[in-house]
Symmetry: C2
Subunit: 377 residues, 2 copies
């Protein structure tokens, strides 16, 4: 920060000049340039016909990305964790049995959110870094109202299997957290029989954080609570606004500029082609998974369940967690994520998501890491 | 929309070119140019030291705008209605008595939100378009847990008195909706003894919608619920992240780019000077209040309680609501708001907020209206 270079700015503007990072942590990622461009478009009112067209088109693009025909497919006007809350509070009432898979931070968060909604939670725990056996979730209770699981655990880099849950869920609703999977690896909502899913914009969709794309099946909407505990996340009321079917009744003021950004980010993904975007994320992950062990890092997530978009590794002996990440940030302007919970200080989480998911960034990081671990080798 | 002019765009980009409006409805307003510029800054991680500096500075700027020393002053990561929900669910438990002033849509919304939080609501109703006598709120119950009122009713353009409530609230917490007042007219949180207040970015702060600036007194935090029904809006957990006092524990991913925008918008307001910003809003309101009656409109909100930033008028005979607004939108690109509830089709809501609050926009609108009502005169 060079104060004198910005002396022409007022005292209320002077501190805003900040760093430019290559974001290779667990999210946010670097956004697509088209997204930033979209932020500069003139703000419209939330009932302006031009804005409603853009909202409709955004939802249609989301249907493609989610691989679903669900009418109620739209972005929640808040970040991914609000999507999680919307997913529970609209469907869970006091005493409902909810089976939750827990093999990381976000499975734990699901238990907390479901409990606050009044659920009787049955947590099916698995060691962090390992995937949950879907059969254990199916066997946890004979007739739960809901089975909830995280597809891509952002805290561990592990992919949990979803398809077997959808195929054998019985009467339960299947709720899936796709915050770190949507756009990065296949998420097939209709084919997998997912009832409720939510994501975040700041991971594999290449948009800054602020919205939570959501999709809800008609089967789920038949069981939606008439008056959920949350007004802001009430799907009955939101549906009137976000789908073109109702009277477009005003619920809350939509976050206009963020929606421009999401619309544009989805445009980038779909122009490239969804499968091409998956392949791009896969190629970055493959390269990291191959090269990081050569530098002394060990892949942490269970083999066969490793996310290409989020690689987790234990550190080489002699490489200090905090010091290493600080050097990456200060010398190279590269952000990677530290470990959480039981592996704090021991694990790094290296993301290649959205616009960050380019081989050039992988090469850049590997080059920096090579220097970083050199004294240890 | 000229499709051919944009043929170079891919099919996923082709529909994004939309209108540019002068936003003179009840919000959103046109944002300050500095805000749009801020959106283009590189995205940082939510734990990046540079971002945390910006967050701290944003909260400090908010303290000035709120005229408070409250430590817990920060933006909720969602729009104004989520601020309302946060204000209730963190403090109201089943059976608590909450007195709510109702003279418009947002007073009604408060009743709904408080009821979902388990409150026993005592609604003190007043005719729409008139202000609520503060004494009626104070007399409604001998010892309520909370008194809640809307400062600036966006549905009617009426300002309700706050100071007498703070001076005589007794043991109750005083909760005030400042969505349409903050930045436009004096909001003196500490002087008025307000315990909990929230606002929106898209009104008099000149920022697009997406965040809800909030402030909470220490007196209120002594009564905060240990585990509110909402995880996303849980102030105990949010406080750990947003105030510099805790370990900056990650709660949810902050909406980075929106925060850049809010930081910049507050910078514009404070560079101008908060009192100067109030005066600018007042000057626009004064001009509208003087000139609109000359064109056959009648001021609707009660005299002495008219908001300068949001003028409400009944229409001259012969001017059709929908047709008139559509002509303004299509011929001039000017958005004004229609009436809600009992005055739908009969009242217009004309906003001059944030960057829109310029006399040039008032002149522009008056010129357009002159033409619009000419056939009726």
């Amino acid at each position: 920060m060079n104060g004198s270079a910005h002396a022409f700015l007022s005292r209320y503007g002077a501190h805003v000049i900040h760093s430019d990072r290559v974001l290779m942590g667990p999210g946010p990622c670097n956004p697509y340039p088209e997204v930033i461009e979209a932020f500069t478009r003139p703000v419209l009112g939330h009932l302006d016909p031009d804005f409603l067209s853009l909202l409709d088109e955004t939802n249609e693009r989301l249907r493609t990305v989610w691989q679903t025909n669900n009418l109620l497919t739209f972005p929640i006007s808040a970040t991914g964790s609000a999507g999680m809350e919307a997913a529970f509070v609209n469907f869970v009432k006091t005493g409902d049995v909810v089976v939750v898979g827990v093999n990381g931070v976000f499975g734990n968060r699901m238990c907390d959110v479901a409990t606050r909604a009044g659920a009787t939670v049955i947590a099916v725990e698995e060691e962090w870094g390992r995937a949950i056996d879907p059969q254990r979730l199916l066997d946890a209770h004979p007739n739960p109202q809901m089975i909830a699981v995280v597809h891509a655990e952002t805290s561990t880099g592990v992919r949990n299997e979803i398809a077997p849950l959808g195929a054998n869920k019985g009467d339960a609703l299947l709720l899936v957290d796709c915050v770190t999977s949507l756009g990065g690896i296949p998420v097939l909502v209709d084919e997998w029989n997912i009832d409720i899913a939510y994501s975040g914009t700041q991971k594999c969709l290449g948009v800054p954080p602020g919205l939570s794309p959501m999709t809800v099946s008609e089967r789920a909407m038949e069981r939606v609570l008439a008056k959920p505990q949350s007004w802001y996340l009430d799907l009955n009321m939101i549906k009137e606004y976000v789908t073109g079917e109702g009277a477009r009744a005003y619920h809350h003021t939509a976050p206009i500029s963020m929606l421009y950004g999401l619309h544009a980010g989805l445009g980038v993904v779909l122009s490239e082609g969804l499968e091409e975007a998956w392949k791009r994320h896969q190629a970055c992950g493959d390269e990291l998974h191959k090269r990081l062990p050569e530098l002394g890092f060990e892949l942490w997530a269970q083999e066969g369940h490793r996310l290409p978009e989020l690689t987790t590794v234990t550190l080489p002996q002699g490489l200090d967690d905090k010091e290493g990440r600080q050097t990456l940030l200060e010398r190279y302007g590269i952000e990677v994520g530290g470990g959480l919970g039981p592996v704090v200080g021991k694990v790094w989480r290296i993301g290649c998501m959205g616009h960050t998911a380019r081989l050039r960034n992988v090469k850049m990081l590997l080059g920096a890491l090579e220097e970083l671990v050199a004294p240890n080798r």
